[in-house]
Assembly symmetry: C2
């Protein structure tokens, strides 16, 4: 079985060999641009690793792995229009570079392209793969809509927040693992378990992302610390703090990012102080640990020898191990 | 076999029974709103009629008929954002009513919904149905991109224009007919023929739309006459006129819609006079006739008794007969 590094390189080679149409240029150039932006390729890696746990031949899973990555990049492309974002992975976003009309339409073409890739999966599995993919795709849109809805809500509960990130992030990882296991030949039961594994891992990963934004280093985060705080974004830290604060502290949490008498650094310091004071940092770390351990625990229950799960374990640790 | 009127009502009943999710409300309400806008249901009708030509049971084709109609409404929803359109079929567009972010995301959800519907087609045909649908969906996006590209081009050839409307309009009608025939049990050869039939019909229909905008009545067109002229849009009439005009008349064609010394009625009258003078009206009518007759001629070559094509013929005549 290939190492995780080799697997990533197999996937990147596969991607590089795909030749999307050239014309019309303004439709397909953004697609190529967006796919070449790198990123961690988490979803295809999970899909291929889940397949590899059951089969030594991961090639039948490469089209579906491409499909989930194309789908993920499609969501980023459209999210960037809605968020009016100008930079992604250190490069101009498609909407900043080509304008939002091109970004809307080339995003649509990407979503269709994801389905074209998926179609190349083993034919006898196609109906079930489509069921998983369609459900997951709809749920990711639901998650994005809840995320936008939260912007205009003054209060978001921890439960609502967890449900939103489950839809927006976990569901796609869970679906990827499930499709990979299916193609690898796993039983329905093991497909469900790997889906739950990836779902828990996805939650841990998203919570870690929230944590790093306030308490990580720029190197770990890959961008400036405190962005979420300055935007007044709902994060696990913010909704947990709100649930534990009294009314006066809630006012601080709600209004600091708009306080024009403070510098950015002062705003970040003030909110972080509240997080520390309310024990939010430790609670978040605990929640990440719980989800991570639960994910690993699920791997113990699969109907395959433990050594076949080693690469999945390594992958999980490489994701959540960032602060360990 | 049901009459075309009955068939439309079977389809509308099927649509009405679908229950899309309720939450999140801002994701799914625009979907329901957009699907309830009426319209002529051309694509599902063609799909069901093509199926009905081969099989007395059209029920297996209802999900695919829904899929092409949902897909069509998805394209309108996103096109309206790109065109900044505020009214569609006499009602506010989704982007005017909910804003463009909601329109982008609910459009995405609609495209995914189209694939969910398609998935309910007979399983043994699913791979081939997906092939037709995916190709057609990608081509519709290509057509829309060419249409947007034309806005910034000073000269569009008749050939380029025909290719654009083929992609933007015909391809979806052709794919619908082809999927319907496939589900009905037609041979590959007949599927291809019905695809060409619908493609030619689609071109005739689009050219007729272009013609009515200048030379129809408000009643036929369903909106004010001359809209394309006032927008300076590329239409079959405009690109044909440009190809036949000398340099001085081309200047009139290019600049009249921006001439602030003229009223709207004067602009429309001036361009229509040029069209008459260059014989563009007659040439367009001729082109519509040629396409329409070609479409009907293809029906003669199908491997079924002529009486099974009667409803398709009626449908075609009801579309193109508007001025006859």
């Amino acid at each position: 079985m290939p190492t995780n590094e080799q697997l990533l390189s197999i996937f990147e080679n596969h991607l590089a060999q795909l030749e999307p149409p050239v014309e019309p240029e303004r439709l397909y150039a953004p697609l190529v641009y967006s796919m070449s932006g790198g990123g961690k390729r988490l979803r295809p890696m999970l899909l291929l690793l889940a397949c590899g746990a059951y089969s030594d031949d991961i090639r039948p899973a490469l089209p579906a792995a491409t499909a989930v990555e194309v789908f993920h990049n499609f969501t980023l492309l459209h999210d960037d229009i809605m968020d009016n974002a100008s930079v992604r992975r250190g490069k101009p976003t498609v909407c900043a570079k080509w304008g939002s009309n091109v970004a809307i339409l080339s995003g649509d073409a990407m979503l269709i392209c994801a389905y074209r890739m998926l179609r190349r999966s083993p034919e006898e599995l196609l109906p079930r793969i489509l069921d998983i993919f369609n459900k997951m795709a709809a749920e990711v849109c639901e998650g994005q809509q809840y995320d936008m809805d939260f912007e205009s809500r003054t209060r978001v509960s921890v439960v609502d927040y967890m449900r939103m990130i489950e839809l927006k992030t976990s569901v796609l990882l869970a679906g990827s693992a499930s499709i990979g296991a299916l193609i690898g030949g796993a039983s329905d039961d093991d497909c469900r378990k790997l889906s739950r594994f990836a779902g828990e891992l996805g939650l841990a990963f998203q919570l870690q992302d929230d944590l790093l934004d306030s308490f990580g280093t720029e190197k770990e985060l890959g961008k400036r610390i405190g962005g979420d705080i300055l935007e007044g974004k709902q994060t696990y830290l913010m909704v947990t703090a709100m649930s534990r604060a009294d009314e006066s502290v809630r006012d601080i949490l709600r209004h600091t990012h708009r306080d024009t008498s403070l510098t950015d650094d002062e705003k970040i310091a003030r909110i972080k102080a509240v997080y520390e004071q309310l024990d939010v940092k430790r609670l978040t770390e605990q929640q990440i640990s719980v989800r991570f351990e639960r994910a690993l625990g699920i791997l113990d229950t699969l109907d395959i020898p433990r050594e076949r799960t080693i690469h999945l374990r390594e992958f999980a640790s490489s994701l959540i191990g960032r602060r360990k």
